[in-house]
């Protein structure tokens, strides 16, 4: 993070690349999660693979965690710099709505909501996983003779309207974050040409569909256990 990150453009490219990486992760995460609605067995198998494969656990997972932390830390650093750039006296009237979307101007807010959500999400899933696997040493993925993943997932949402609600709320903010962030990343790495219009449509669709999909999964598990 030393030399190259010194310049504003390098920082924004780093922000874009880490963001794009997280978008890819989201897509992968979603693909696995949606199977929990379609086929609990597939969900269990894939989850077990992801949870025990050395490459995924030893290499991809640290990269992902680094990516998440980097994206957040960098985001905060940039935000602080950007606020300083306005100077000691700010505008008394700043009509951002005249020239830009709310989403683009409030990436910090949507980002913080997502960060808080990640805390909850880690508390719900990641910490128990790590505890089971690496502290208790149980790498089997089994509970009472069956894969435990599906049950554990469903259990979180069943009969818990508050958790489900919080998840859905976070996904709404994820939509906000992605609506600007996904297409913005391409601009940052210098991709702006005749394909940009089509790409923008795709990123917008992705930004809405994937988080809604996540929300659907949470609601599905809640509703199906009412």
């Amino acid at each position: 993070m030393g030399g190259i990150i010194k310049s504003s453009i390098a920082r924004k490219v780093a922000m874009a690349l880490s963001g794009l990486f997280l978008v890819v992760f989201l897509a992968q995460h979603f693909t696995i999660n949606i199977t929990s609605v379609i086929s609990p067995d597939t969900f269990n198998e894939w989850s077990h693979f992801m949870g025990t494969n050395i490459l995924v656990q030893g290499v991809l997972q640290p990269i992902l965690i680094f990516g998440v932390i980097f994206h957040f830390v960098m985001g905060f650093i940039l935000e602080i710099q950007n606020r300083k750039a306005r100077g000691d006296v700010g505008y008394s009237l700043f009509k951002g709505s005249a020239n830009s979307s709310w989403f683009s101007r409030n990436m910090l807010i949507s980002g913080i909501v997502i960060l808080l959500f990640l805390g909850l999400h880690f508390y719900d899933f990641w910490i128990p996983e790590i505890t089971t696997k690496y502290i208790e040493g149980d790498m089997s993925g089994m509970h009472n003779g069956e894969f435990r993943y599906y049950e554990e997932t469903v259990e979180k949402f069943a009969n818990d309207p508050y958790r489900t609600g919080l998840y859905v709320l976070a996904f709404v903010f994820l939509i906000f974050h992605l609506l600007h962030g996904f297409s913005s990343a391409f601009q940052s790495v210098g991709f702006n040409n005749k394909y940009s219009k089509a790409l923008k449509t795709f990123t917008k669709a992705f930004a809405i569909v994937i988080p809604l999909g996540f929300a659907f999964i949470a609601i599905f598990h809640y509703v199906s256990h009412l």
Binding site: R86, V89, F94, N192
Partner: protein, 248 residues
């Protein structure tokens, strides 16, 4: 029409500023915004007060001297217009108009509504040129044909008037649109290609040193730019910078 103006007054860069409220009447729709301020100042001088200082010169939208954040927008409401070409018919009788200087750490206030935009000059000085001497023996202008489309794109980038509205509109006070316009103008021409890498590195360096913020692609700059300089230029500068970084 009659208007209420809330105007930022500040004696110089070392003193604190404040808003003052003024009333002007006899404003006509055909007047430009700056002519409306002339009317205000004429009244102030007659009352023995110091007039409100603001930057202006050509008053035909090309020199880039005029600025002003009007009701929260650089160069006021409407797009593709400078303050000097903004006419009072855009306002209604009885309106209150808030007039502030462009705000950015890199644009310190000189007096009242005047800011110091010399940071822009320093960015240009860092590399916004093609190193060719005036010899009178340069090659014939037509010996290097340039694709019309590229020449036109270069021209579009070159129409930047350096007013600073992009910085003023940006929530991060970023100068990317300004810097990228110059980088693009030259990067698109064969004459400028030779020094392209060095140019973009130096100009971006200087831009950062001046204390402008980072670009977060909100696109506010493009909308508020009186000359409609496109965001494509920022993407191009990012590309140029990346390839220069990788190569260099």
């Amino acid at each position: 029409m009659k208007l209420t103006l809330k105007i930022w007054r500040q004696e110089n860069s070392n003193t604190k500023g404040r808003f003052e409220t003024y009333n002007v009447d006899k404003v006509e729709g055909d007047m430009s915004f700056l002519e409306m301020l002339d009317v205000l100042n004429d009244g102030l001088v007659r009352e023995g007060k110091e007039p409100v200082e603001f930057d202006h010169d050509c008053r035909e939208g090309i020199c880039g001297t005029c600025s002003l954040q009007i009701n929260g927008e650089p160069h006021g409401p409407g797009n593709r217009v400078t303050t000097c070409q903004l006419h009072m018919r855009s306002f209604k009788d009885g309106d209150t108009i808030v007039i502030e200087p462009f705000r950015a750490r890199a644009f310190p206030i000189v007096k009242d509504l005047i800011v110091d935009r010399s940071a822009f000059d320093r960015i240009q000085q860092a590399g916004g040129f093609i190193s060719v001497n005036t010899s009178g023996n340069t090659i014939d202008a037509n010996s290097t044909p340039i694709e019309k489309e590229k020449a036109d794109m270069s021209f579009d980038a070159a129409t930047c008037i350096g007013c600073g509205a992009c910085v003023a509109a940006c929530k991060n006070a970023s100068a990317m649109l300004f810097t990228s316009a110059k980088v693009s103008q030259f990067a698109l021409l064969p004459q400028g290609e030779v020094e392209a890498s060095e140019r973009v590195m130096h100009m971006v360096d200087q831009m950062d040193k001046e204390g402008f913020g980072n670009c977060t692609n909100t696109g506010a700059c493009e909308i508020e730019c009186p000359k409609g300089i496109s965001l494509e230029n920022i993407a191009r500068m990012n590309r140029e910078y990346l390839s220069a970084s990788v190569a260099g």
